[in-house]
Amino acid sequence: MMKRVNRVELTGSLALGAFGIFYTVKAFGYRMGTLSEMGPGFFPLVVGLMITSLAGIILLAGIWKERDKAWKKPDLRAMFWTLCALVAFALLVRPFGIIPAVVVLILTCLAARSDTTWPQAAVIAAGLAILAYLLFIVGLGLNLSALRWGV
């Protein structure tokens, strides 16, 4: 079997390294101070450098390694629909209130599942919206509006 670059380890270490370098560069923007009187930049600099060097170690240690059998391919479809659902909630909750936001959230996230028909999804969404209303607004008395129009 030919040895190939282990793309899982490569991606992971590069992402970590990018974060580390960014964090380190940004740390230089804060005052360093001295050992006896550290400025706000000292600790972040140390942390950033350590992250960057660990990314290097992970890269070197893992790049020619066999791909882990247990590796789970990310399910981009599930992620896409979950994110759409969350973003929809974030956008709708302020202008329209909890109930419409919850309904859209649930319908969107059920779009990711193949075992749900539209009528089923509607029932689930309605049931959970009522539950949310009863639990959070009636029961816990949180300061949230159930239904509203406009900002």
Binding site: V5, L54, P74, W81, A90, I106, C109, R113
Partner: protein, 513 residues
């Protein structure tokens, strides 16, 4: 020690306050629920409930969140026994003998014995906690900043190298957590660090949004498209719960051994309930007269790990409450909640917040009694809950998280932060990075920076202060040794893994296609 009884009495007075009783019940109920359901962990549940804790006093908040944690340990074994699917990671070992028992028609006995084992292990764990907390916190009071820095360093090293998965990645995640923990205003100078001018980040990254994203959203994404479970479980009748005399007799010694194993591993940083239940199983197999019975429905293999993980769950509170050093991510979240309520964790906690500490300890007794009732007569309820279809459960979880995060500040930006960390957490998961060490680093980061600054200020910049003080030096030595050993172990593992596949010569050339 001398004030133990009056203190405990005061604690019970706090714990039987109707509000606290109610939240204690909510906690253990939800804990059992998420324990029973495979795929939803206590970290996700605690993150989901964190927003609620802003509306109640800190002791009530902690009573509820802690209830989730130890309640999970009770529920975790139910799915292991009935479905061969662990409800929590620490209940994975229960599958080995619990599922065979249920195939032999002894599911009821297995469920009853795990509950009894849980109760026994937890009770002993609470006794250990009660007895040692005060003396340990007194030792803690003599620590200076240098000792604290070294102890936190040790805690972080231990929890990242002992975590499942490669230690390098664990350490990297702790560091990322430290890095994220520093976001916000610097305490001394007020300088805004890594906020990019956003008002929402001035007080740092919202812990609720961060942990819900990392543990909640990423878990929902990964189980979003997996199939339904549980429709094929039969009923568990109350009568089938009654163990035989032989069952009870052969459970006594494993119960005691498991509890001891759990009480030993519980307070150690990074080991937690998973290692405790695993070690207890291994120990039982070692001491058994006929080890071949294990894996085929031996009751010892169910009782010992179950008592171990519950006793570990209770003793894990020892370092968290007496020293302010969390041993695992759940404990780190609890400390985070204390900090959000303006309470400084550390050895002063018992003296400064007796109501909180003793109330919490007393609530453990009450909560475990509630769990006993919830899990024995009401076991049928949990079996039914296992049959809730995923298509209802997952959207419901998502809904609770969204409303929860939003309600903290009535701010949709927090949902945005949750989304970002949900994506990050999901990719981390699939790239083999664990999120639990990140939370530890996130909580300890700002504290470590403070202790480091203070220690070096007092020594006028001499870093030798960490080595010259004997206790601090001891912590650092253990930490460095742990790092060294795990490095050696992982290099050896890597060699062994590579050898059979490749001959060494191929490493130097010709490996690019």
């Amino acid at each position: 020690m001398e004030n133990l009884l009056p203190n405990l009495a005061g604690g019970f007075a706090t714990a039987i306050d109707p509000l606290n009783l109610f939240y204690c019940f909510v906690g253990v109920f939800l804990g059992t629920l998420v324990g029973v359901l495979p795929g939803v962990g206590s970290l996700a549940a605690i993150s989901m409930l964190m927003p609620l804790t802003f509306y109640v006093p800190p002791e009530t908040a902690l009573i509820m969140l802690a209830g989730i944690y130890y309640g999970t340990q009770y529920g975790g074994s139910t799915a292991s026994i009935l479905l061969n699917l662990p409800g929590t990671p620490s209940a994975a070992v229960i599958c080995l003998d619990g599922y065979p028992m249920s195939q032999q028609g002894r599911a009821g006995v297995a469920l009853a014995m795990t509950t009894i084992a849980s109760f026994f292990g937890a009770t002993c764990g609470i006794i250990v906690l009660t007895l040692f907390a005060q003396s340990l916190s007194r030792i803690g009071l003599s620590f200076t900043s240098a000792e604290y820095f070294s102890l936190m360093f040790l805690g972080l090293v231990a929890s990242s190298t002992l975590a499942s998965g490669p230690p390098v990645k664990g350490i990297a995640m702790v560091l990322v957590g430290l890095a994220l923990g520093l976001v916000g205003s610097d305490v001394q100078t007020g300088v805004q660090r890594y906020t990019f001018g956003s008002m929402s980040l001035f007080d740092g990254i919202n812990l609720v949004a961060l942990s819900m994203g990392l543990f909640g959203v990423s878990e929902v994404i990964s189980s979003m498209r997996s199939g339904d479970s549980g429709s094929h479980i039969g009923k568990v009748r109350l009568r089938s719960l009654i163990p035989t005399r032989a069952d009870l007799k052969s459970s006594v010694a494993p119960l005691l051994r498991g509890t001891a194993v759990g009480a030993f591993f519980g307070p150690l940083p990074g080991t937690g309930t998973n290692l405790a239940s695993f070690m207890a199983y291994v120990l039982e197999k070692k001491v058994a007269r006929d080890p071949s019975r294990f894996g085929k429905g031996a009751i010892e293999g169910v009782v010992a790990p179950e008592s171990a993980n519950n006793s570990a769950a209770q003793t894990a509170f020892v370092p968290t409450l007496t020293l302010g050093i969390p041993g695992d991510a759940v404990m780190a979240l609890l400390l985070g909640v204390l900090i959000m309520h303006g309470i400084q964790p550390g050895p002063n906690l018992i003296e400064a917040q007796p109501k909180l500490f003793w109330g919490l300890v007393a609530s453990f007794w009450i909560g475990n009694l509630m769990l006993l009732i919830l899990n024995l007569p009401l076991i049928g309820l949990w079996v039914k809950i296992l049959a809730i279809p995923r298509k209802v459960l997952l959207p419901a979880i998502l809904m609770f998280m969204c409303i929860g995060v939003y309600s903290v500040n009535n701010n949709a930006v927090d949902i945005g932060i949750m989304i970002v960390f949900g994506v990050v957490g999901y990719f981390m998961l699939s790239l083999g990075f664990e999120a639990a060490p990140l939370i530890l680093g996130f909580i300890l980061g700002p504290l470590m920076e403070q202790y480091l600054k203070r220690a070096l200020l007092l020594s006028s910049g001499d870093p030798m202060v960490f080595v010259e003080r004997p206790i601090s030096c001891g912590f650092l030595t253990v930490a460095v040794a742990a790092l060294f050993l795990s490095a050696v172990a992982s290099i050896r593992n890597a060699r062994r893994a590579n050898q059979p596949v490749e001959d060494p010569a191929a490493d130097t050339d010709g490996n690019r296609p």
